[in-house]
């Protein structure tokens, strides 16, 4: 609950519209002025290969391959910075059980220069690893961060193809097996590499 509060508060604080308007005190209202492409909010949907793992002091940290992806929304904040919100996921099935990672967090994209298409991203939010079968469920929910890099290949029609690499890591959260606390030091890891389509 506390983590959720932090995430929501962070989103409010970095509200892009408010920030942009504050930067341009003399400007007309944004809605009355056509926005240049670089000022527009973009929506990103990515699909990738990924390796997710449960982490703790007594976990084997073994990453399993699976299908992964991300969805995000970003909007300009400074000349070479975008702020946004991102969700990352990963799924793996096998041996009568399934494993998944889901993480959601505010992020910022830092471009090498205002004209650059390469960016670095980072964010902090909450993540959860789940392993489940018909009989059992193991969950670890932890404060999680993401770091990653990408490159925007601009396409026609305000779109971009974005190869990306990102790593989500969470630690210090409750790990529960069928509801019983296993350790308060549970965590998760998700490494993914894939391609996203970004649309302004």
């Amino acid at each position: 609950m506390r983590l959720a509060t932090v995430v929501v508060a962070a989103c409010v604080l970095v509200s892009p519209e408010a920030t942009l308007n504050a930067q341009q005190p003399g400007s007309r209202p944004a809605a009355a002025q056509p926005q240049p492409a670089s000022r527009r909010t973009s929506y990103t949907l990515g699909i990738s290969k990924g390796a997710g793992a449960l982490t703790c002091t007594f976990c084997n940290d073994e990453g399993k391959d699976g299908i992964a992806g991300m969805v995000g929304i970003e909007t300009p904040f400074r000349r070479a910075i975008k702020l946004g919100f991102e969700a990352d996921w990963w799924l793996h099935s096998g041996g009568g059980s399934s494993r998944s990672v889901f993480a959601a967090m505010p992020v910022f994209h830092l471009y090498l220069s205002p004209a650059s298409r390469a960016f670095f991203k980072a964010g902090l939010g909450i993540g959860r690893f789940t392993a489940s079968s018909d009989e059992e469920e193991l969950r670890a929910t932890a404060l999680s961060g993401v770091v990653g890099v990408g490159y925007e290949f601009r396409l026609a029609n305000r779109s971009a193809l974005v190869p990306y690499l990102s790593w989500v890591r969470g630690t210090g959260g409750d790990m529960r097996l069928n509801g019983a606390l296993v350790t308060p030091y549970g965590g998760l890891s998700l490494l993914q590499y894939g391609v996203a389509l970004s649309k302004r």
């Binding site: 002091t57 007594f58 489940s132 193991l138 210090g172 890891s189």
Partner: protein
């Protein structure tokens, strides 16, 4: 990745430091000035033992009660080369837990019982104290979901009084147990207790695992019923598996194996189970079996190497053939160092470990049987240290010590 793992480990290490502090708040005084416990000084050399009693008694430590106790020593004194004729298992100084717990006092729980229930003491011989340990053992987790995700490892150091040379365990189910375990998932216990293994006054026939053999009155007379059981061979096992016809060899493991299957709990005064664990202690070649046809009810396997039944059945092959050179060497007695039936091979199944102490203190004081746990010491209490957690995955340990052999120069039954 390693950085995060290290950061993550800080909490566990901090907890371990606090927990270790619970163990090491007592400095070790000089054993030579401490009051001797009942268990101290009870061993004297036999005819074939070349070490003196004084040298033996120099291997001493001081228990938390401030008394002097015997402790582990090698079978052969390294300075003089003399033999004590018995061994106490694996040198505990190699255990990763030794720095935390120090030398193990033999008989500390027995000593507490002298106070807790002075009219019903339990005094055990010296040679039966057996130490086993292993570092960094890989544990099993009883969850199909969690098992492939975890790498739970533990350091284990145990000591059980497991005499396998006399008639004691035919009736007596109460034996001193010291159990130390520390795992990377936070599971940690440091327990000293008198464990009741099975029912008093009887044992279970080892070769069928089901027949309860009633022998007589136990010591102490008020020995509690315990979980688990003591599987001990009797004459029926010998006749069926050791003395065999000419078409087959003796099956010594079926004839002679002892398995002491403990089921232990530390309980609070309200009856709440704070911790439980159930290691099994195995001895493949004891120097005794129950024989009600003998005056002393204690049969000797080496004697059966020379025996022939009326139908011609006798010991064939295996340990008997090796020890007697197929019958060429005669006159080996049960306490002869040449007898292979001396209890020097042992192993321990660590099995399950459960803690339900998240709301309790790390330090409990129980009666010698591990019951009536309270936060403050009382007359005849024993100090127990148990991690303040509830275990959700109940790490189960493997067998340790199976490959080891503790024999040596002069080591022989009674051992």
């Amino acid at each position: 990745m390693r950085f995060f793992r290290q950061v993550q480990f800080v909490g566990v290490v901090a907890g371990a430091i606090v927990f270790t502090g619970c163990l090491n708040d007592l400095t070790s005084p000089d054993p030579s000035t401490a009051t001797p416990a009942v268990a101290f000084g009870i061993w004297s050399p036999g005819p074939n033992d070349t070490c003196t009693k004084e040298l033996h008694d120099a291997y001493a430590t001081v228990g938390r009660d401030g008394k002097r106790y015997p402790t582990w020593h090698p079978a052969t004194d390294p300075a003089t080369g003399c033999s004590f004729g018995h061994e106490h298992g694996r040198d505990p100084r190699g255990s990763d837990l030794y720095g935390m717990v120090g030398a193990i006092p033999f008989g500390l729980a027995n000593e507490a019982l002298e106070t807790w229930d002075a009219t019903n003491p339990r005094r055990e011989d010296h040679v039966g104290h057996k130490v086993e340990w292993e570092n960094d053992i890989e544990m099993r987790v009883n969850s199909d979901i969690a098992s492939p995700l975890f790498d739970v490892r533990c350091d284990v150091l145990v000591k059980l009084h497991q005499g396998t040379h006399s008639k004691d365990a035919f009736t007596n189910n109460v034996h001193e147990l010291v159990y130390h375990i520390v795992c990377n998932d936070g599971t940690a216990m440091h327990v000293t207790m008198m464990t009741a293994i099975g029912k008093p006054g009887e044992f279970v026939r080892s070769c069928d695992g089901t027949t309860h053999v009633t022998v007589g009155l136990p010591t102490p007379l008020n020995s509690p019923h315990g979980g688990g059981q003591r599987l001990i061979p009797d004459r029926e096992c010998i006749l069926e598996h050791m003395l065999v016809g000419s078409t087959r060899n003796s099956n010594m493991s079926a004839a002679l194996h002892e398995s002491w299957q403990t089921s232990n709990a530390i309980r609070s005064a309200t009856g709440h189970t704070i911790a439980s664990f159930d290691p099994y202690f195995q001895v493949p070649s004891p120097s005794r079996f129950y024989d009600p046809t003998l005056t002393g009810i204690t049969g000797r396997p080496i004697d059966m190497c020379y025996a022939t039944e009326s139908n011609g059945d006798k010991a064939r092959g295996g340990a008997c053939a090796d020890a007697t050179a197929n019958g060429q060497i005669t006159g080996i007695t049960w306490d002869d160092p040449r007898s292979p039936f001396n209890g020097v091979r042992r192993f321990v199944d660590i099995n399950g470990n459960r803690i339900n102490n998240a709301e309790g203190p790390a330090v409990w004081f129980t009666d010698p049987y591990g019951r009536n746990g309270q936060r403050e010491p009382f007359a005849g209490s024993v100090r127990q240290v148990i991690a303040r957690i509830n275990t959700a995955i109940d790490p189960h340990g493997p067998t340790i010590g199976r490959e080891r052999w503790y024999g040596g120069l002069g080591v022989r039954a009674p051992n």
